[in-house]
Symmetry: D2
Subunit: 406 residues, 4 copies
Amino acid sequence: MTDKHYALFEEQQKDRGIDLEAVKQQLKALTIETPSWGFGDSGTRFKVFEQEGVPRDPFEKIEDAAKVHEMTGISGSVAIHIPWDKVDDYGQLKQHAADHGVRIGAVNPNLFQDDDYKFGSVTNVDPAVRKKATEHLLECVDIAREVDSKVLSLWFADGTNYPGQADFRKRKQWMRECLAEMYNALDEDMRMLIEYKFFEPAFYHTDLADWGMAYNLANKLGPKAEVLVDTGHHPQAANIEHIVAYLLDERRLGGFHFNSRKYADDDLIVAAHNPYEIYLILQQIVAAKYDSDSGVALNAENISYMLDQCHNIEPKIPAMIRSITNVQSLYAKSLLVNHEVLQKAQEENDVLAAEEAIREGYEFDVTPLLHVVREEMGVPVQPLKAYKESGYGEEILKRGKGGASW
Amino acid sequence: MTDKHYALFEEQQKDRGIDLEAVKQQLKALTIETPSWGFGDSGTRFKVFEQEGVPRDPFEKIEDAAKVHEMTGISGSVAIHIPWDKVDDYGQLKQHAADHGVRIGAVNPNLFQDDDYKFGSVTNVDPAVRKKATEHLLECVDIAREVDSKVLSLWFADGTNYPGQADFRKRKQWMRECLAEMYNALDEDMRMLIEYKFFEPAFYHTDLADWGMAYNLANKLGPKAEVLVDTGHHPQAANIEHIVAYLLDERRLGGFHFNSRKYADDDLIVAAHNPYEIYLILQQIVAAKYDSDSGVALNAENISYMLDQCHNIEPKIPAMIRSITNVQSLYAKSLLVNHEVLQKAQEENDVLAAEEAIREGYEFDVTPLLHVVREEMGVPVQPLKAYKESGYGEEILKRGKGGASW
Amino acid sequence: MTDKHYALFEEQQKDRGIDLEAVKQQLKALTIETPSWGFGDSGTRFKVFEQEGVPRDPFEKIEDAAKVHEMTGISGSVAIHIPWDKVDDYGQLKQHAADHGVRIGAVNPNLFQDDDYKFGSVTNVDPAVRKKATEHLLECVDIAREVDSKVLSLWFADGTNYPGQADFRKRKQWMRECLAEMYNALDEDMRMLIEYKFFEPAFYHTDLADWGMAYNLANKLGPKAEVLVDTGHHPQAANIEHIVAYLLDERRLGGFHFNSRKYADDDLIVAAHNPYEIYLILQQIVAAKYDSDSGVALNAENISYMLDQCHNIEPKIPAMIRSITNVQSLYAKSLLVNHEVLQKAQEENDVLAAEEAIREGYEFDVTPLLHVVREEMGVPVQPLKAYKESGYGEEILKRGKGGASW
Amino acid sequence: MTDKHYALFEEQQKDRGIDLEAVKQQLKALTIETPSWGFGDSGTRFKVFEQEGVPRDPFEKIEDAAKVHEMTGISGSVAIHIPWDKVDDYGQLKQHAADHGVRIGAVNPNLFQDDDYKFGSVTNVDPAVRKKATEHLLECVDIAREVDSKVLSLWFADGTNYPGQADFRKRKQWMRECLAEMYNALDEDMRMLIEYKFFEPAFYHTDLADWGMAYNLANKLGPKAEVLVDTGHHPQAANIEHIVAYLLDERRLGGFHFNSRKYADDDLIVAAHNPYEIYLILQQIVAAKYDSDSGVALNAENISYMLDQCHNIEPKIPAMIRSITNVQSLYAKSLLVNHEVLQKAQEENDVLAAEEAIREGYEFDVTPLLHVVREEMGVPVQPLKAYKESGYGEEILKRGKGGASW
C-alpha cells in the first residue's frame, strides 16, 4: 500500500462527491469496546479448549485489552463482568486501566452462574432469589460508580425449558419490578442497556426474547433505559438493520454487542460470515446521524459499540484486533455512500439505482483510507501485523494454561 | 361414541377436580370466524388449481360460510375482504348473511393488489398513493358501519425487496400518519386489529415485521388499536404462546388468524402440522381469563378468533369445518388443565410436575365431550360427516369452475 | 383408570378394525435404550447446575438405568460413552448390568474432548491425530466385543468455525479412510451407526452435516454401516419423517437418538415440545414394517431406539422415565392407524381423508391400553408414580453433589 | 476508472504472487446463462405487477437475452422453459438465437402448471399422470436435440401439503422409474441436471427436498445425471459451499441456479443480500479446478452457471445485467486468493491466517480488472450504463403491458 493508492482513492471519492475529511473524522471518532471475558477461555457445552497465555485475573485481561487498543487506537475501553472481574479494590482496577491507556467501560452483571439462578434470577418465583438478583444489580451500579463507568449492560439468561414450567406473565412483572429498583439507583448520567436474546441457555422461552420486549421494558423504565442489540441474538433471517432503524427512530438504541454467527449465538469474529449484514446495520446508523430530527441524530451519536465474542479455537488477542478492524473497515465503507444519490433513487422508486447507491460504498477497497487514518492517529497501519511483530503473544505464554474462564 | 364414553369421561374429569359444566359453557361460547376468501380459489405463485363449485360472488361465499356454521354451530360470522367482496349494496349483503344465519365479521382492506401499491401503500414514498390507501381504509370503516361490523382487520404487504430500496424510518412515520387518520374515523365501539408478518410478499424488509412493531403502533394510536396474531407470520421456532401471553399482559391482544405452517406462511388447515402449538397458545388465553387482573381477563374474553387459510388442493368447505373442529377440540383440551395443580408445581419449581400439569389436558380424548356439547347446541355431532351427507358439496358443483379468487 | 376404560377402548378399536392383540405385541416388543451420560450432570456453555444424587461412576449410572427399566419394562439396555464410562474391567461392567437386569447397548466413542481434537479428530489435518482417533474407534470395537454389544454409535463433532479454516474435501476423504479401518474391524454381526448434525459445536461447517453425507458414507463403507437420526440435529422445519422414510427405503436406517428441541440441539425430554413430530416419524416406521419389500420391513424391525438427552434442570431419572413413556405412548398411537383406510385415501388423492386417517391414531387416549400392556408385562402401571413411591430418588441423594458429568 | 487504477491493481496482485493473465483467462471463460422466463412478468401469490415492455413471445425473450449478452459478453446462452417457450418450429427459434448472437441453453420441462399435476407429476399416484409427465420429459429431450442443447434442467414441484397425504416411498420409486425412462432417451453428450428444493409450492414434504435426495437419484441413474444447486432452495443457515464442495468431490455437481434470498426462495438479484455466500461458493469451485484429481477438476470446469430469478418490482433486463456482473465480480475476487498461502495456513491449523487468506480476495475492488477484461473482450466497460444509454429499454416499451408470464 503506497501513497499512490490513497491519492487515487482520494480522487475517486472526490469525484463521487464524498467529503473524505469528514469521513476520516468519523472514523477517528469510532470506538469499539472489548469485553474482558473475550480474553479468557471459553468454549461450547462440549469442551473448553484451554489456551496458553490466557489472562489469570482482571488485571491481566485489561493488559490484553490495552494491547489491542495500542494496536487499533479505537478500542480504549473494556467491558467488565461481575463477578468474573470482581476485585477487592475497583479503584485499583480503574487505575490499572488508566495506567495502560484504557478505561473501564460497561459493567455487566452476571445472573446466570449462581446455583440460585437455576430457575431464573429477576424472574424467579422465589422472592428471595429476586432480591438477591436485584442486590447484585445494585452492586453493579455501585461498581460502575467506582470505576467511572456510565453504562450498565444487562443480559438475562432467564427463561424456561418446558411448556408449563413457569408463568410468563408473572415473570414479566417480576422482572420489571427488579429493574425498576435498579433504574432508580442509577445516576443521572448513567445508562442501562437491556439486551434480548432469541434463545439459549433457555430452550423453551426466554423472558426477554426479542427487541420488542426489551424496548417495551426500557420504555416503561424511563429515558435512561435503552436497548442493546447483540447481532447473534435473533431468529434466522431477521432483518437486524430494520430493527436498528426502528430503535433509532424511537431514540432507544443503546448499543451493540457485535459478533458473527451462522446458526445460533455462535459468538464468532464479527463479520466473518456475512460482512454485508454489519455494513447494512452501520448504514442505518450513518443515515440517522444526518437525520433532521435531532433526537434521532443524538441517539445515533451515542451508541455504545461493543464486542461480545468467544474465541474458542483461535488466539484471542489477534481475533479481537481483527474484529475491531473488521468493524472499522465496514464503517469506513458505510461512510462512502452518497446519501443524496440514495435519497433521490428512493424518492423515484428506482429500485436498482437505490440498491446500487447503498452497495456502492461496500464495493470499495478502503485499505488506503484506513492506512492514512491510522497514520494520522499514530497507530500501526497494519494492526494485526504489528501485533504479531510486537512479541506480546509470546511474552504472555508464561502465564501458562488454565487462565480466566467463564 | 356412546353415552358410556361420556359417563366415563365425566367421572374421570370430576375426579381431577374439573368443573365440566363450566368447560361446556366455555366451549359453547367459543366462536371462530371464517374468511370469505378461504372459500374462493387460491394457490401459490406457481399455480392456482381451480376447483369446481367455488362461490362466484360474495353472496355465495356467505352461503358456504353459513353452511359451515350450520355444521359447527360456532362459526357464525364471516370476515370480508374489500374489494374482493365489494358489492353495490352492503345492506343487502348483511341481510343475505342474516337470512342464512350468520353475520359479517371483520372487514379487511386490501392494499396490495392495485398497481399503485407496487412500492407500498400507506408507506409509499408518493403522498398521492398514501392518500389513496388511507381513503381505502376509511372506506372500509364505512363499510364496517354499514354491515354492522365492529372489527377492522389490517394486514399490510408493505415492505421492500432490496437493501437501500426505501427509507425504513420515513415509511414507519408515514404508516403511523395514515393509520392515525383511520383510527380517528372509528366509532367508539370499533376495534382496529393490526397484523404483522415476518416476510412475504416483501423479501427484504416488511414494515410491520413482528409483534413489537404492531404493538408499538397500536400503543401510539390508542386503546381501540390492538394486535392481530397470525400463527403463520413468525420466524421459525418463535414461541408464539409467549408473545400471546405478553400481549395479554399488555391488554393488546386483539385477535388471531389461525392456520398451520411448516415453513413459511403456508396457510394450511389449522393444527394440521403441530397441534400442540395451538394448544399451548390457547392455554395462555384460558389462564388469562382467570387472572385476578380484570384488564387482562377482559382482554382474554374479547379476542377475535378467525381463520385465515388457503385450501389450495383440498375442498374448501370441509377443510374449513375441520379447521374449526380442530380449534374447538384443542380448546376443549386446554380447558381440562387443572390450574391449581399447575400453579402449585410452578411455585415449587417442580419442572416435571408443571410440564405434566399443562400437558395433561392435551392427552385426553375429548370426543365424548364435544359430542355432548354439540348435542346440547343442536348441531351435528360429527360436523364433517354431516356435511358430507348433506349433499351440499354436490349441489354447488353446478357453479362450475372459475369462481372467486384472490 | 379402570377395566371399564379398557373395555370401552377395546370395543372402539375393534369397531375400527384394529387388531389390538397385534398392537399389544408390538408395544411389548418396543425397546428404548437409555444413555449412561443422561444420568450424569450436564448443562449449557453458560453453566452446569449440579444435582444431588447423580451417579459417581459407570456402575451407578447402570444402576439408575436399571431402575428406569424396572419401572418401564422397555429400557433394558444402556448406551455407554468412552472414555466417560471407561473402566478397568468391562467384563465386570457387563456383569453389573446383568445383575441389575439390564445389558450394555451401543458403545459411543468420544472424539471431541481431548485437546488433540481441537481442529478435528478423523478429519484432522495431522495424520497423527487421525491415527489416534482411529485407534480410539478400534478400541471401542474391542470394548463392544467385551460387553457383548453389537452397536457402535458414532457422532463426530468435527467441523470448522470459519471460512477457509480447512479443506472440506480433504477432510471428507480422511474421515472415510479412518472409518473404513474401523469398519473392517467390526464383527460380522456388528453395526456401525453414523450420526449427522446440522451444527454445534462447529459453527461454520460440520463434516457430517446432514443425512445425505452420513448415508453416502455408510453406502461406501458397506452393509454394516447405517445412519443414525438424532431428532435434534436438523435445520428448522426439516421434515424428519420424510428422511426416515427415505432411509428405510434405502434400507439404511440404523437407529434414533430421541430428544426434543425448539431451537437448536436442545436435548430436552422427547416429545415435550412437538409430540406430533415423533408420532409422524413412528408412523413411517410402522408402515415400513408392513411393506411388501422384505428388505424394507427388516430394516424397520431392526432399528435401535435410543434416547440422547440432557436433563439440565429437571431430575434425571424421572425425566428419563417420562421420555420413555412418551415414546411408548406415541408408538401406541401410531399403531392405531388403519392402514387400509389410509392407503385407500391416498390412492384416491383424498387429501382430507388421508390426513384424517393418519391423525386418527394420534387423537386416542391410549392410557387404558398402556395400563393393560404394563400389567401384562408385570411392570408398574404408572411408571413415574411408581418411581416416586419407590424411594429410590431419596436413597441416591447420599451420593451427594458433583457426580459424573460430561 | 483509469489506466492508473489497473496499473496499481496489477502491481498489487503481482506482489501477492497472483498470475493476473491466468485470472483474466478464467474471467473470459466464464459464462452465465440467462433464463427466458426471467424476462417475463412474475410475482408473488399475492400479485403480479405487470411491467411495460415485457417480451410477448419466446422470440422477444431471446432478443432481450441477446441484449444482455451484448452488454456483458458472458451470457451467450438462454435457458428455455417448455411449454412457456413452446413454438411450432424449434429450428426457427434456434436460428433466431443465432441471428442475435446467442444460443439456446438448458431445456426446462414444466411439470407443475397443468391441472393434472395437482397431486404430483412423476410421483402421482395415477400411472396415467406419470406417463403424461414422462412423455413431457421425453418431449423436452427431443426439443433439446432440435435446438442443439446438451442440458436438461429438471425441477419438480412434486410434494404434499399434509401428513398422510401420500406415500413418500412409493413416490420415490415412481420418480426414479420416470426419470430412468428419460435418462435412457438422452444422447451420449447430454446431461440431466436434477434440482432439489427445501419447500414450495409443497408445504409439508417435497419429493426432492435436499441435495442428498437429488444426488442419490443421479447416482442411481448414471453418469449423465448430475445435481443442480439453486442457491435459494436450502434451509436457513445451510452451508451451501460445503454442499458444493461435497458434490464436486463426488463429481456430481452439474450446475447452478443463482439468485438471492433472505427468507424462502425469494429469487432476487443474485448476491444482493449476502454477496460473501456466493464468493465462498465460487471459492470451492476455483479450488476444485486446481485439484490433483482430474475427475474433480473436470467436474469443476463443466459446471453450468445459470440464473433463476424473478424481477417482480425492478426492470428485468438491467436486473439481469446486474446479476451477471455481480457473479462476474465475485468470481474475479475468488480468483485472487493465493491458494498456497491458504493451504499452508490450513496445514498449520492457523485459523486466523486461513480465514484471512480466503477473505483476502474478497476485499479487493476488482473494478479495474473487470474494466480491462471487458475492454479486451470488446464489450462495454460498464454494462449497465451502456444498457441505459443504448435506448433498448425505451424501444421495447412499445410491446406494451401484458407480455409473457409464468
